[in-house]
Amino acid sequence: MTRPQLEQFEIHRVFPAAVLGHDVSFTNASLFMIVTLLGVWAFLAVGMRRATLVPGRWQASVEMFHEFIVGMVDENIGHGGRQYVPFIFSLFIFILFANIIGLLPFAFAVTSHIWVTFAFAAFIFLLCIVIGLARHGLKFFTLFVPPQTPIILLPLIVLIELISFLSRPLTLSVRLFANMTAGHILLQVFAGFIVSLGLAGGLFTLLGVLPLAMNVALYALELLVAVVQAYVFALLTCVYLNDSINLSH
Protein backbone atom coordinates (compact mmCIF):
# COMPACT_ATOMS: atom_id res chain seq x y z
CA MET A 1 0.00 0.00 0.00
CA THR A 2 1.52 3.31 -0.99
CA ARG A 3 0.96 6.42 1.04
CA PRO A 4 -0.77 9.19 -0.93
CA GLN A 5 1.98 11.52 -2.03
CA LEU A 6 1.37 14.99 -0.72
CA GLU A 7 3.91 16.75 -2.94
CA GLN A 8 1.18 18.79 -4.55
CA PHE A 9 0.77 20.67 -1.28
CA GLU A 10 4.46 21.34 -0.72
CA ILE A 11 5.70 24.90 -0.57
CA HIS A 12 8.70 25.63 -2.78
CA ARG A 13 10.68 28.84 -2.65
CA VAL A 14 10.66 30.54 -6.04
CA PHE A 15 12.79 33.51 -4.99
CA PRO A 16 14.48 32.87 -1.65
CA ALA A 17 14.72 35.95 0.54
CA ALA A 18 15.36 36.65 4.17
CA VAL A 19 14.87 39.72 6.31
CA LEU A 20 16.68 39.89 9.66
CA GLY A 21 16.87 36.13 9.79
CA HIS A 22 13.18 35.61 9.01
CA ASP A 23 12.25 33.72 5.89
CA VAL A 24 10.24 35.97 3.61
CA SER A 25 10.91 34.15 0.35
CA PHE A 26 8.52 34.37 -2.53
CA THR A 27 7.03 30.90 -2.63
CA ASN A 28 4.81 29.04 -5.08
CA ALA A 29 1.89 29.92 -2.78
CA SER A 30 2.70 33.62 -3.24
CA LEU A 31 3.03 33.06 -6.98
CA PHE A 32 -0.42 31.55 -7.24
CA MET A 33 -1.94 34.22 -5.05
CA ILE A 34 -0.56 36.76 -7.56
CA VAL A 35 -1.91 34.65 -10.42
CA THR A 36 -5.33 34.71 -8.69
CA LEU A 37 -5.14 38.48 -8.31
CA LEU A 38 -4.21 38.89 -11.97
CA GLY A 39 -7.12 36.65 -12.94
CA VAL A 40 -9.57 38.65 -10.82
CA TRP A 41 -8.18 41.95 -12.09
CA ALA A 42 -8.34 40.82 -15.72
CA PHE A 43 -11.90 39.55 -15.31
CA LEU A 44 -13.14 42.76 -13.70
CA ALA A 45 -11.08 45.34 -15.59
CA VAL A 46 -11.56 43.97 -19.07
CA GLY A 47 -15.22 43.33 -18.39
CA MET A 48 -15.93 46.87 -17.28
CA ARG A 49 -13.81 48.54 -19.95
CA ARG A 50 -15.98 50.80 -22.09
CA ALA A 51 -18.98 49.94 -19.97
CA THR A 52 -22.30 50.50 -21.68
CA LEU A 53 -25.75 50.95 -20.21
CA VAL A 54 -26.93 47.81 -21.96
CA PRO A 55 -24.13 45.41 -21.05
CA GLY A 56 -22.33 43.04 -23.37
CA ARG A 57 -21.67 39.46 -22.24
CA TRP A 58 -18.51 40.03 -20.21
CA GLN A 59 -19.84 43.16 -18.55
CA ALA A 60 -23.06 41.33 -17.79
CA SER A 61 -21.18 38.55 -15.99
CA VAL A 62 -19.21 41.07 -13.91
CA GLU A 63 -22.45 42.81 -13.05
CA MET A 64 -23.99 39.45 -12.10
CA PHE A 65 -21.22 38.92 -9.55
CA HIS A 66 -21.81 42.36 -8.11
CA GLU A 67 -25.57 41.95 -7.99
CA PHE A 68 -25.17 38.57 -6.32
CA ILE A 69 -22.97 39.97 -3.56
CA VAL A 70 -25.12 43.05 -3.03
CA GLY A 71 -28.18 40.80 -2.77
CA MET A 72 -26.45 38.54 -0.27
CA VAL A 73 -25.28 41.47 1.88
CA ASP A 74 -28.70 43.16 1.77
CA GLU A 75 -30.47 39.95 2.72
CA ASN A 76 -28.17 39.08 5.59
CA ILE A 77 -26.97 42.38 7.01
CA GLY A 78 -29.76 44.65 5.88
CA HIS A 79 -29.60 48.20 7.05
CA GLY A 80 -26.02 49.45 7.40
CA GLY A 81 -24.56 46.64 5.37
CA ARG A 82 -23.85 48.37 2.06
CA GLN A 83 -20.48 49.63 3.25
CA TYR A 84 -19.28 46.02 3.58
CA VAL A 85 -20.05 45.09 -0.02
CA PRO A 86 -16.51 45.81 -1.31
CA PHE A 87 -15.03 43.66 1.46
CA ILE A 88 -17.40 40.73 0.92
CA PHE A 89 -16.99 41.05 -2.85
CA SER A 90 -13.19 40.93 -2.64
CA LEU A 91 -13.34 38.00 -0.23
CA PHE A 92 -15.78 36.01 -2.36
CA ILE A 93 -14.12 36.59 -5.70
CA PHE A 94 -10.60 35.95 -4.38
CA ILE A 95 -11.56 32.66 -2.72
CA LEU A 96 -13.58 31.62 -5.78
CA PHE A 97 -10.76 32.29 -8.23
CA ALA A 98 -8.16 30.77 -5.87
CA ASN A 99 -10.23 27.58 -5.53
CA ILE A 100 -10.82 27.26 -9.27
CA ILE A 101 -7.25 28.11 -10.31
CA GLY A 102 -6.05 25.50 -7.82
CA LEU A 103 -7.89 22.86 -9.85
CA LEU A 104 -5.92 23.52 -13.04
CA PRO A 105 -3.20 20.97 -13.88
CA PHE A 106 0.18 21.72 -12.30
CA ALA A 107 -1.39 24.54 -10.29
CA PHE A 108 -1.04 25.02 -6.56
CA ALA A 109 -4.21 25.35 -4.52
CA VAL A 110 -3.68 28.41 -2.36
CA THR A 111 -6.68 27.75 -0.13
CA SER A 112 -5.61 24.20 0.65
CA HIS A 113 -3.29 25.48 3.37
CA ILE A 114 -4.65 26.14 6.83
CA TRP A 115 -2.54 29.28 7.30
CA VAL A 116 -4.13 30.97 4.31
CA THR A 117 -7.70 30.18 5.30
CA PHE A 118 -6.99 30.86 8.96
CA ALA A 119 -5.63 34.29 8.04
CA PHE A 120 -8.94 35.07 6.36
CA ALA A 121 -11.02 33.63 9.19
CA ALA A 122 -8.99 35.28 11.96
CA PHE A 123 -9.28 38.65 10.23
CA ILE A 124 -13.04 38.26 9.88
CA PHE A 125 -13.34 37.19 13.53
CA LEU A 126 -11.35 40.19 14.75
CA LEU A 127 -13.32 42.44 12.40
CA CYS A 128 -16.60 41.22 13.92
CA ILE A 129 -15.35 41.82 17.47
CA VAL A 130 -13.99 45.29 16.68
CA ILE A 131 -17.13 46.32 14.79
CA GLY A 132 -19.35 44.98 17.55
CA LEU A 133 -17.42 46.75 20.30
CA ALA A 134 -17.16 49.97 18.32
CA ARG A 135 -20.85 50.09 17.55
CA HIS A 136 -22.38 48.83 20.76
CA GLY A 137 -19.65 49.17 23.36
CA LEU A 138 -19.97 46.71 26.19
CA LYS A 139 -23.53 45.87 25.14
CA PHE A 140 -21.86 43.73 22.47
CA PHE A 141 -21.64 40.97 25.07
CA THR A 142 -25.43 40.65 25.13
CA LEU A 143 -24.82 38.68 21.93
CA PHE A 144 -24.16 35.69 24.18
CA VAL A 145 -27.47 36.01 26.02
CA PRO A 146 -30.39 34.87 23.88
CA PRO A 147 -33.62 36.64 24.74
CA GLN A 148 -36.09 35.02 27.15
CA THR A 149 -33.55 32.72 28.74
CA PRO A 150 -34.51 31.41 32.18
CA ILE A 151 -32.13 32.83 34.78
CA ILE A 152 -31.20 29.38 36.05
CA LEU A 153 -29.82 28.29 32.68
CA LEU A 154 -28.01 31.58 32.07
CA PRO A 155 -24.44 30.54 33.01
CA LEU A 156 -24.64 27.36 30.96
CA ILE A 157 -26.19 29.09 27.96
CA VAL A 158 -23.63 31.89 28.04
CA LEU A 159 -20.83 29.33 28.19
CA ILE A 160 -22.24 27.41 25.24
CA GLU A 161 -22.78 30.59 23.23
CA LEU A 162 -19.26 31.75 24.04
CA ILE A 163 -17.72 28.47 22.91
CA SER A 164 -19.81 28.55 19.73
CA PHE A 165 -18.66 32.13 19.07
CA LEU A 166 -14.99 31.31 19.69
CA SER A 167 -15.15 28.30 17.39
CA ARG A 168 -16.20 30.51 14.46
CA PRO A 169 -12.73 31.25 13.05
CA LEU A 170 -11.79 27.60 13.49
CA THR A 171 -14.79 26.13 11.66
CA LEU A 172 -14.70 28.82 9.00
CA SER A 173 -11.07 28.17 8.15
CA VAL A 174 -11.12 24.39 8.53
CA ARG A 175 -14.25 24.04 6.36
CA LEU A 176 -12.52 25.67 3.38
CA PHE A 177 -9.08 24.16 3.96
CA ALA A 178 -10.23 20.58 4.56
CA ASN A 179 -12.64 20.66 1.60
CA MET A 180 -9.91 21.78 -0.76
CA THR A 181 -7.28 19.39 0.63
CA ALA A 182 -9.61 16.39 0.65
CA GLY A 183 -10.71 17.10 -2.91
CA HIS A 184 -7.18 17.36 -4.23
CA ILE A 185 -6.04 14.22 -2.41
CA LEU A 186 -9.02 12.34 -3.84
CA LEU A 187 -8.18 13.50 -7.37
CA GLN A 188 -4.59 12.42 -6.86
CA VAL A 189 -5.50 8.97 -5.51
CA PHE A 190 -7.64 8.19 -8.56
CA ALA A 191 -4.98 9.56 -10.87
CA GLY A 192 -2.55 7.18 -9.21
CA PHE A 193 -4.92 4.31 -9.99
CA ILE A 194 -5.01 5.33 -13.67
CA VAL A 195 -1.24 5.27 -13.85
CA SER A 196 -0.77 2.00 -11.99
CA LEU A 197 -3.50 0.24 -13.99
CA GLY A 198 -2.08 1.59 -17.23
CA LEU A 199 1.40 0.34 -16.40
CA ALA A 200 0.16 -3.15 -15.51
CA GLY A 201 -0.32 -3.99 -19.18
CA GLY A 202 -2.80 -6.17 -21.02
CA LEU A 203 -6.38 -6.14 -19.87
CA PHE A 204 -5.55 -3.84 -16.97
CA THR A 205 -4.67 -1.02 -19.33
CA LEU A 206 -8.22 -1.12 -20.69
CA LEU A 207 -9.60 -1.18 -17.15
CA GLY A 208 -7.67 2.03 -16.58
CA VAL A 209 -10.56 3.81 -18.26
CA LEU A 210 -12.65 3.29 -15.11
CA PRO A 211 -10.60 5.45 -12.73
CA LEU A 212 -10.29 7.96 -15.57
CA ALA A 213 -14.07 8.26 -15.81
CA MET A 214 -14.24 8.51 -12.02
CA ASN A 215 -11.66 11.27 -12.09
CA VAL A 216 -13.67 13.23 -14.65
CA ALA A 217 -16.74 12.97 -12.43
CA LEU A 218 -14.69 13.93 -9.36
CA TYR A 219 -13.33 16.95 -11.22
CA ALA A 220 -16.87 18.16 -11.87
CA LEU A 221 -17.66 17.61 -8.19
CA GLU A 222 -14.55 19.55 -7.18
CA LEU A 223 -15.58 22.49 -9.36
CA LEU A 224 -18.95 22.49 -7.62
CA VAL A 225 -17.29 22.26 -4.21
CA ALA A 226 -14.92 25.11 -5.10
CA VAL A 227 -17.80 27.42 -5.99
CA VAL A 228 -20.03 26.35 -3.09
CA GLN A 229 -17.24 26.72 -0.52
CA ALA A 230 -16.46 30.24 -1.71
CA TYR A 231 -20.18 31.09 -1.52
CA VAL A 232 -20.54 29.57 1.96
CA PHE A 233 -17.45 31.42 3.23
CA ALA A 234 -18.84 34.75 2.03
CA LEU A 235 -22.35 33.95 3.30
CA LEU A 236 -21.12 33.00 6.77
CA THR A 237 -19.03 36.17 6.86
CA CYS A 238 -22.21 38.14 6.16
CA VAL A 239 -24.06 36.24 8.90
CA TYR A 240 -21.28 36.88 11.45
CA LEU A 241 -21.14 40.56 10.49
CA ASN A 242 -24.90 40.72 10.92
CA ASP A 243 -24.54 39.28 14.43
CA SER A 244 -22.02 41.97 15.29
CA ILE A 245 -23.73 44.91 13.63
CA ASN A 246 -27.33 44.19 14.52
CA LEU A 247 -26.82 42.08 17.68
CA SER A 248 -29.43 39.72 16.37
CA HIS A 249 -29.87 36.19 17.49
Binding site: L6, R175, A178, N179, T181, V228, Q229, Y231, L235
Partner: protein, 75 residues
Protein backbone atom coordinates in the same frame (compact mmCIF):
# COMPACT_ATOMS: atom_id res chain seq x y z
CA UNK B 1 -0.39 -2.17 20.79
CA UNK B 2 2.20 0.19 19.38
CA UNK B 3 1.50 3.75 18.38
CA UNK B 4 1.34 3.22 14.61
CA UNK B 5 -1.25 0.47 14.89
CA UNK B 6 -3.37 2.62 17.21
CA UNK B 7 -3.16 5.54 14.78
CA UNK B 8 -4.30 3.42 11.87
CA UNK B 9 -7.20 1.97 13.86
CA UNK B 10 -8.19 5.45 15.00
CA UNK B 11 -8.13 6.73 11.42
CA UNK B 12 -10.39 3.87 10.41
CA UNK B 13 -12.85 4.62 13.21
CA UNK B 14 -12.92 8.27 12.13
CA UNK B 15 -14.53 7.24 8.86
CA UNK B 16 -17.76 6.53 10.77
CA UNK B 17 -18.11 10.27 11.18
CA UNK B 18 -18.10 10.67 7.42
CA UNK B 19 -20.87 8.10 7.08
CA UNK B 20 -23.04 9.99 9.55
CA UNK B 21 -22.36 13.27 7.77
CA UNK B 22 -23.39 11.59 4.52
CA UNK B 23 -26.72 10.71 6.17
CA UNK B 24 -27.13 14.35 7.13
CA UNK B 25 -26.45 15.57 3.59
CA UNK B 26 -28.96 13.04 2.26
CA UNK B 27 -31.58 14.30 4.71
CA UNK B 28 -31.07 17.89 3.59
CA UNK B 29 -31.39 17.16 -0.11
CA UNK B 30 -34.23 14.69 0.41
CA UNK B 31 -36.31 17.18 2.36
CA UNK B 32 -35.55 19.85 -0.22
CA UNK B 33 -36.75 17.60 -3.03
CA UNK B 34 -39.83 16.68 -1.04
CA UNK B 35 -40.71 20.32 -0.54
CA UNK B 36 -39.79 21.22 -4.12
CA UNK B 37 -42.11 18.58 -5.54
CA UNK B 38 -44.98 19.86 -3.44
CA UNK B 39 -44.35 23.53 -4.18
CA UNK B 40 -42.21 23.87 -7.32
CA UNK B 41 -42.71 27.63 -7.54
CA UNK B 42 -41.00 28.16 -4.17
CA UNK B 43 -38.11 25.79 -4.88
CA UNK B 44 -35.80 28.27 -6.59
CA UNK B 45 -36.06 30.79 -3.78
CA UNK B 46 -34.79 28.21 -1.30
CA UNK B 47 -31.83 27.06 -3.38
CA UNK B 48 -29.34 29.34 -1.54
CA UNK B 49 -30.49 27.83 1.76
CA UNK B 50 -30.05 24.35 0.27
CA UNK B 51 -26.45 25.00 -0.75
CA UNK B 52 -25.67 26.63 2.58
CA UNK B 53 -27.15 23.73 4.57
CA UNK B 54 -25.29 21.23 2.39
CA UNK B 55 -21.98 23.01 2.90
CA UNK B 56 -22.19 23.28 6.68
CA UNK B 57 -23.29 19.65 6.99
CA UNK B 58 -20.57 18.38 4.70
CA UNK B 59 -18.08 20.43 6.68
CA UNK B 60 -18.64 18.16 9.67
CA UNK B 61 -17.88 15.11 7.56
CA UNK B 62 -14.75 16.83 6.32
CA UNK B 63 -13.78 17.57 9.93
CA UNK B 64 -13.82 13.84 10.68
CA UNK B 65 -11.73 13.25 7.55
CA UNK B 66 -9.36 15.88 8.93
CA UNK B 67 -9.14 13.94 12.20
CA UNK B 68 -8.19 10.84 10.21
CA UNK B 69 -5.53 12.78 8.30
CA UNK B 70 -4.14 14.26 11.52
CA UNK B 71 -3.95 10.80 13.04
CA UNK B 72 -2.14 9.41 10.03
CA UNK B 73 0.26 12.19 9.10
CA UNK B 74 0.63 14.64 11.95
CA UNK B 75 0.57 12.80 15.25
Amino acid sequence: MDATAAKLIGAGIATFGMGLAALGVGIIFGLFLQGALRNPAAANSQRPNLLFGFAVTEALGIFSFLVALILLFVV
